[in-house]
Amino acid sequence: MTFGSGAMTNSINEIPDSKVLLIIGSNPTEAHPIIGTKMKQAVARGAKVVAVDPRRTEMADVADVWLRLRPGTDIALINGIMNIILANGWEDKKFIAERTEGFDQLREQVAKFPPEVVSKITGVPVDQLIEAARIYATAESAQIFYTLGITEHIYGTDNVMILADLSMLTGNVGKVNSGVNPLRGQNNVQGACDMGALPDVLPGYQKVTSPTVRAKFEAAWDVPIKSEPGLMLPDMLEAALSHEVRAMYVMGEDPVLTDADVNHVREALETLDFLVVQNIFLSETAKLADVVLPAGSFAEKDGTFTNTERRVQRVNKAIEPIGHARADWKIICDLATRMGYPFAYASPADVMQEIASLTPQYAGITFERLGRKGLQWPVPDAEHPGTKFLHEGKFARGKGLFMAIEYQVPDEPPDEEYPLLLSTGRRLSHYNISTRYSEALDSYAPEELAELNPEDAERLGIKDGERVKVASRRGALETKIRVTDRVLPGMLWMSFHYKESPANVLTNAASDKVTKTYEYKVCGVKVSKLI
């Protein structure tokens, strides 16, 4: 992306000493609870907080300024804040001159977003915009945190790039307590990306289109590597429907419950000639499979996860796999061998050796060195102590590049027929869907409670705790309602943990043009009483 790298720039344990936290589209006390507690520790030590969220989250409650913007208007908001920063001369001129390029284009773009215009688009009062800009730009150091609602994946999409712009404009990057930090949701999404579980890059974000990169891997693996990037998940599903893709092998995921517009996903998977699913439970996706392979849980295998601050940490086997289940790595090795290319690894530590030999960021990592504390990549060699924060003195791509970002409207804003805006997210006690298999957690939060503002509830005649029908252009479901001013009027918020109320039958599969990340955050729905 803008800096040439896509991970959290700083470390989690810097958070309690932060001076300013700008938290945007992110609900850390529920989605990343320990990061949330560290933010609250920072607040207790006097840090200032700017929260940007349409929903009243815990951090919004403790924030110095809470910008309650309309969902999907983040780009206009940040452009507006940059406009105010420039108008007041709060930018870091030295940083811009020495370490960035593209500033003139940014200035031109930002000029189109005077505070009054931005206030109209976002619904945030002008004085709050100014206050937020002042707090962020005039701080000694300031960190940005974002998650869902801004977007994900390893390449900058517009929302991510504009946050990078904001940080560079004020010189808040490349030092302690200053940076742009994606909080990655799934435990090892960072690692899955690092390891090249992406169609266009090999491990370490090395592009398959590069002949030198391919030559390195071809030499190591002794096979030719295709130079064309492969299909991203949404395109895989389209290709399944058109019979270009005939077989799929799905490990550890449940796209039928977690992907947008699940009825469409189901149809695509059903069209396949052959589907293999490898999982620890008979997931909704596994039910569609021709062959189901029982995998071991994290307690049943050795390996490593990489967390959101790039820390590679050990996963240690505590028990033997349940029944005839097998660790995923063993199943993959077995399959490769049966397909005529023996994977003869004695252990995950062996695999890490090969990873280190091919992945520059992991070059100095061995299981032994990870020990009990892990290491934060980049770890370029066997002596390197790991990297606490990125971009010190220099960006991965050299100079930081400002990107002028246009404001875009969501793909499916609410309209007359579907007047409410549905937004989805995570709850504290659940993680995607797997935690539903914890009896203790499930008994604590057993069912969906979709949040609706009292104004709308009254207009629709819906009471707190009532079961209702929610419908979008793609599907419908039933759910219980919680009437609360945590959400804005005109908005409905749901989690996606419950197969009894599968929010993703409603969501829109329109996806980001670069990352193919679905637009989970905005789609039109209507709520009606059950008859």
């Binding site: 005939r246 392979l293 349940i322 397909m339 797997s434 957690l441």
Partner: protein, 352 residues
């Protein structure tokens, strides 16, 4: 860094300036009993178990709140010190239930450990005992107020680690209790069940409900690992007995989180032994799943993928890897796609 030198039990030790006497002892492996101290929390100095004798000081100061100074002469095990500690313990034990046999904390209880070491009998101050009801209002935490020694660690953990201040002291004197404000049950408080309070409780007043009766500390093997539930990457110890994970306890060495965890990491691990776990390969025949051996299942997969590749080319196969699996597994999966099958059709469901 500035250093100072002092004498502890006749040994000369050098420590950084700003160190407490307690820390100076611990750095040098000199044991000091403590009940209300925790290195991750602020110091309270209330239990007085950590008292020591310091030359030139008249009383016995608590070492956890006393700064070490240059030339200080400290004694940690004089009879004066030991007698005072014994009295404190006798008082605590006087109104403490002595059902250690059935107590979940047995073998890991600071009070029992010190009572044993100091030969406390419970006979010195025969006191009235509390008979308060247990709080088992929630699926995670069991609170037995009768066992509480009012050390206040849980109060500080909730406030300082979790930032919540759910817990507090209520009532006074003999009736004093520590628990959710207004003495409400946990389930009716603002508690988010992070279990930080449980992780610091030195006695059996707060315990992990699901672990009750599952194993004694000396039967349990602790395996440090990384939480599979979010990208924060907390570490903790899986508690294993007889090949079964019976629960989770904090590992103070955890690099990201120390002793803190959230409800998912601390209390969600019962999913490992959920009865719905898949335990054998399944092959669908006429729309129904039939149990199969690994050989049957793997041969079928290898054969089918081989056929698709033969007939439609490698790009007719697509592979979804997983942000829940390990780095090694993701690496192998993309290698399987690229080197074995021959396609770049590899992705994962990256919902952040």
């Amino acid at each position: 860094m500035e250093w100072i030198t002092l004498s502890i039990d006749g040994r000369t030790v050098t420590v950084p300036k700003g160190t407490t006497v307690l820390e100076a002892c611990r750095m040098n492996n000199i044991p000091i009993p403590t009940l209300c101290h925790d290195p991750e929390l602020s110091n309270y100095g209330s239990c007085r178990m950590c008292i020591v004798e310091i030359e030139g000081m008249r009383n016995l100061p608590p070492s956890c709140v006393t700064q070490a100074t240059q030339g200080m002469v400290v004694r940690t095990q004089t009879s004066k010190v030991r007698n005072a500690r014994t009295t404190i313990l006798e008082l605590l034990v006087a109104n403490h239930p002595l059902d250690c046999m059935t107590c979940q904390k047995m073998g890991d209880c600071a009070l029992a450990e010190y009572a044993y070491e100091y030969r406390v009998t419970g006979e010195v101050f025969k006191g009235q005992r509390r008979e308060l009801p247990l709080d088992d209002s929630n699926p995670f935490i069991l609170r037995d107020p009768n066992k509480c020694i009012l050390c206040g660690k849980c109060v500080r953990a909730c406030e300082e680690i979790q930032g919540r201040s759910v817990l507090d002291f209520s009532f006074r004197g003999f009736n004093a209790q520590v628990g959710p404000a207004f003495n409400l049950p946990y389930s009716e408080s603002e508690c988010v069940f992070c279990g930080s309070c449980v992780s610091v409780c030195p006695v059996g007043a707060l315990t992990e409900k699901k672990m009750v009766g599952q194993g004694r500390p000396w039967e349990v093997e602790k395996v440090q690992t990384t939480c599979p539930f979010c990208g924060t990457g907390c570490n903790f110890d899986l508690n294993v007995k007889d090949g079964k994970v019976i629960g989770v306890t904090s590992n103070p060495e955890a690099p990201v989180n120390g002793k803190a965890l959230c409800v998912k990491g601390r209390f969600g691990m019962d999913l490992i032994h959920n009865s719905e776990r898949l335990t054998t390969p399944l092959i669908k025949k006429d729309g129904e799943f039939v149990e199969a051996t690994w050989d049957e299942a793997m041969d079928l997969v290898a054969q089918k993928l081989g056929e698709v590749k033969q007939e439609h080319g490698a790009d007719a196969i697509a592979v979804l890897s997983s942000a829940r699996c390990t780095n090694e597994e993701n690496f192998l999966m993309q290698k399987l796609a690229r080197a074995v099958i021959g396609t770049n059709n590899i992705d994962h469901c990256a919902r952040t």
